[in-house]
Amino acid sequence: MSDWIRPRHLPEALEILATAPGPYRVISGGTDLMVECHLAPERRPESWLDISGLRELQGLQITEEGIRIGAATSLEAIRRHAEVVAHWPMLAASAAVTGAPPIQNRATLGGNVCNASPAADNAPTLLAYGARLEIVHHHGSRWLPYGDFHLGYRKTALQPGELLSALWIPYPPKHSRGYFRKVGTRAAQAIAKVSIAALIEVNSDGIIQSAHFGMASVAATPCALPSVSQYLLGRALCDIADMQVRQKVKQDIAPIQDIRSTTAYRLEIASRLVLEAIHKRSESKKEN
């Protein structure tokens, strides 16, 4: 008989993780874990820590600087949240393309991040918005920029005994515009071939004040595009050389060849998406 603990409060959960770190497997919405268990029943965990009942990990709160989203909040609740739709439209968009409704009703934002798939659809959005993670432990908590969370293929900065408790996203700069797009094979439930989020801020003289990107499925982890951002910073929109941008994209990503796509296709799509994000941002188009 497996051991299943579903605590109501965070300290209780952290105590369990601290005293018995290795064997307890954290489960939230279960949309990744239950598939894993089905595909590899021999690796099914014996002991489960179910965090879906922790009130501290639920819900969205607006603060002066931005929004705090409990790690166990469902993608469904996120994509419908009026403030998210109004101020963080890329997050509403990425949550809305993460699987179909029955997945979104269960899948959590924290689970999408902690599962650490290079194809996680909300990862680009969180990178582009400069999200920070609140990570908790029996003895306290720490903050981590989301950009520092993915250490390698499916390897995260979470230490044994730690839980992701919340994601914190600042308000985007006033004159910035977002762009999100997922390229897959079918609209619902397809794993992305490439997805991108971009947040670009341009002043009234047409000079780029800041440019932040996130991409999924183009490297071993979701990644930002530091060389592209560097190239764009301080540059006038009319001075952007597309060939240069393509060169920088190539420096920043390391696409793989797999069953869903070839390296060359991913590189080409990634470059086109970045260019589209840069050039389209000047139109007041809604992301999708």
Binding site: G30, V35, H38
Partner: protein
């Protein structure tokens, strides 16, 4: 350890392990065979049920999370409802494997949008696969219940 829930309006206590799939509890313990297993991986929606009114794939739901949950399977939908009649009239069911999941997805959709557009119908059913009908007849059945496709 046991888990108590309400299934189709009746109290039920399951003695399965907490990591058991809700799908298996429904089919094997409750003998509710209307809920189908297609893929077992969340892709097809044949196992879809409503948990507290929300559409979920029961192959991905561990029993341990169902304490006090209100569960509706296809057997819990009213017999001979307008929806069931529309499915028959429009030819929205052929082999029938997807039909229970489709009816539950349609129920969740219509609870939210009494008069859905074609786009909303497509979205509401996007987690359910059908290998027979080509979907058009299923969309038509839902539109019929709602009094026609809403204009966009």
């Amino acid at each position: 350890m046991s888990t108590t829930m309400r299934i189709n309006g009746k109290a039920f206590q399951s003695s399965s392990a907490p990591n058991a799939r809700l799908l298996d509890v429904l089919r094997n313990e409750c003998d509710l065979k209307g809920t189908k297993e297609g893929c077992g991986e969340g892709e097809c929606g044949a196992c879809a049920v409503l948990v507290n009114g929300r559409l979920v794939n029961s192959c991905l739901v561990p029993l341990g999370q169902m304490e006090r949950a209100e569960i509706t399977t296809v057997e819990g939908l009213p017999e001979d409802s307008a929806l069931a009649q529309a499915f028959v009239q429009c030819g929205a069911t052929q082999c029938g494997i997807c039909t229970p999941g489709m009816m539950l997805a349609a129920t969740a959709l219509l609870a939210e949008y009494a008069n859905p557009t074609l786009e909303e119908i497509r979205w509401g059913l996007s987690g359910n696969l059908c290998r027979c009908t080509g979907y058009g007849r299923i969309y038509a059945a839902i539109a019929q219940v709602a009094g026609g496709f809403a204009d966009v």
